[in-house]
Symmetry: C2
Subunit: 290 residues, 2 copies
C-alpha cells in the first residue's frame, strides 16, 4: 500500500496556519502543487514569493474539482461563504479541512452550505501559537509535535477522516479526536476563559487614573498572566461570540470560584486560602505541556 499523496492542495488564507500547512506537506514530500485563494492579494503575493504557493488561484470552480485536499484557514466568520463557493465544484475524492479555533459553529455552517458534500469535510483545530501571523510567519515545522484536534461528524466517511488525519500527521502533528461539542467545552475552559480573564485584568487597570504608576511596578508575574491580552481583539471577539454558551458556563463557574476566595479573604480564613492555593499549585506543578 502506498501512502496517499496530495498532488494538488488548495489553501484559503495563506497566513500562519495555511502557509505552514502547505510548507509542512511540501517538506514531507506529500504535496504536489499548492494553489492559494484569499481576500488579501498582498498576502497571496507574499506567500508565492516565499515559496508557500505555486500559484494564486483565480477561479474556485475550475480549481477545486481535481484538488486532493482543501484547507480553509481563514477567520471562522469567512468560512460559510467559502463552503458555498466550493460546494458545487468539489471533486468526489477531494477532502476538506479547516483551521478554526471553534468547531460547533463551523460544523453548523458546513452542514448548511455543503449539503450532501459535508461528508467530505473533516473539521480540525490545530493548537499552534498565534502570537505572530501572516505569510511571513509561516514555517514548515510549526505543527511539529503540536496537537491537532479533529472533530469528525457522523456524516464523514472513515476514508475522509483517515485522509485528513494523514495530512495533519504528515505536517508533524499529534492528532486526536473529540466531538465538536466536547471540543468547544474543553477549549472554553483551558483557552477561551483564560483569554477573557487576562483581557479583563488589563482593561480594569487601563481605565484607571494611576495606570502608568501601576504598570511601572508590574513585573514578571503580570507579564506572563497578561501575555495573551496582547492577542488580536477581532479574532478573540469572534471566538467568544462563536463559543458564547460554553464560555458563559465557564465564566459563571469562575465567578463562583472567585466568590469562594472573596469569602475566605473577607473572613480572614487563612486555612481555606492555603487549601485552595495548595491544590492549584500541585496540579499546575504536575502539568506539563504535551
Amino acid at each position: 500500500m502506498t501512502k496517499p499523496q496530495f498532488k494538488k492542495i488548495i489553501i484559503f488564507g495563506a497566513g500562519l496556519i495555511g502557509g505552514s500547512f502547505a510548507l509542512a506537506l511540501r517538506k514531507a514530500g506529500m504535496a504536489g502543487e499548492a494553489v492559494g485563494f484569499g481576500r488579501s492579494s498582498a498576502t497571496l503575493e507574499q506567500a508565492k514569493h516565499l515559496g508557500i504557493l505555486d500559484r494564486i488561484g483565480t477561479d474556485v470552480a475550475a480549481e477545486v474539482g481535481d484538488a486532493d485536499i482543501v484547507l480553509i484557514a481563514t477567520p471562522v466568520a469567512q468560512m460559510a461563504d467559502i463552503f458555498t463557493r466550493i460546494a458545487p465544484h468539489l471533486g468526489k475524492h477531494t477532502v476538506v479541512t479547516d483551521g478554526g479555533s471553534t468547531k460547533c459553529d463551523v460544523v453548523e455552517a458546513a452542514r448548511r452550505r455543503l449539503g450532501a458534500k459535508v461528508a467530505q469535510f473533516v473539521p480540525a483545530h490545530p493548537i499552534a501559537g498565534a502570537e505572530k501571523s501572516g505569510a511571513s510567519a509561516a514555517q514548515a515545522d510549526l505543527y511539529q509535535g503540536k496537537k491537532v484536534v479533529l472533530t469528525p461528524m457522523p456524516e464523514n466517511t472513515a476514508e475522509a477522516v483517515a485522509r485528513v488525519r494523514e495530512a495533519w500527521e504528515q505536517c508533524g502533528a499529534v492528532v486526536s479526536e473529540l466531538t465538536p461539542q466536547q471540543h468547544d467545552e474543553v477549549f472554553a475552559a483551558v483557552s477561551h476563559l483564560p483569554h477573557l480573564l487576562s483581557y479583563a485584568l488589563v482593561h480594569d487597570l487601563a481605565r484607571r487614573e494611576n495606570r502608568d504608576l501601576l504598570l511601572s511596578f508590574a513585573a514578571s508575574g503580570f507579564r506572563d498572566f497578561t501575555r495573551i491580552a496582547a492577542s488580536s481583539p477581532e479574532m478573540w471577539r469572534d471566538i467568544c461570540m462563536a463559543n458564547r454558551n460554553a464560555l458563559l458556563d465557564e465564566l459563571e463557574r469562575y465567578m463562583e470560584e472567585l466568590g469562594i476566595l472573596h469569602e475566605a479573604l473577607a473572613e480572614a480564613d487563612a486555612g481555606k486560602l492555603e487549601e485552595i492555593f495548595s491544590l492549584a499549585r500541585s496540579v499546575r506543578a504536575n502539568w506539563s505541556q504535551q
Copy 2:
C-alpha cells in the same frame, strides 16, 4: 566624600533574597563581613559553604551592636519576632531593611517592636522573581536592573534612608519610593490579584472529573496564565492575609469587570467585547517590563 561602607552586614534568612543581597554587596566591594541568622541551620551551613556568609551567628545581642546594616529576609510572619530580638541591641549607626512583599504589616510590626529605634528601619520590597528559592538560588546579579521599592516612614532620618538606598543601589537595583499604603495598593493590583486569579483558574479545573482531559489540551496561553499558580501556597497565603483589605478592593473591582464581560457575552454584544479587548491589547502591547 568616600562611599559609605558596610563593614559588617547581618542577614536574617540566607535564602534567595538575603543570600543575593550579601553576594551583590560583596561583589560591589561594599561588604566586609557577612554574618547570618536563621531558623534552618542547613540553609545557613549551605550559605556559608557557598561563600555567601563568613560566619553563622550564634548571639544576636552580641552581633547587632556593631553591624552597619541588617537585612531581614525571612517570611514576613517571622519579622515581628526578629524586631523584638534586635531592638535592645541595635547600634546607633546600624540601619535595618527588609525584603518583604507587603509593607503596611511590616511597618506596623516594626513600630510596635522597635520602639524609638524604628527610625533606623527603612522598609524595602525587592521585585525579584521567586520561582527558585533557598541559598543555592542566590546570585550576585539577582538585583541587577531590578526594581526595589523603599517605603520610608515619617520617623526615618534622611541619613538612614540614604544608607539603605545606597545598599540596594550597590546591589544593582533601581530604587524608587512609595508610602507603605501606596505600595500595598499598587501590588494588590499588579501582583497579588493576578496570583489569586491564576490560583482560582487552576483550582476550578482541578476539582473536575474530566480534569485530565481538560489539561491534556491546555497549551501555551494556559501555561503562561497559570505559571504563577505554581508559586508557594504558604507565601501567598501570608501575602493575601497581610494585604487583605487592598486585595479585597481589587478583587471586588475585578468581579465587577467580569460582570460587564458576562453581560456583553449574554447579550451577544460583539462590539462591547471588541472594545474591551482592544483597549486591553493596546495597553498591554505598549507596556514593557522595566
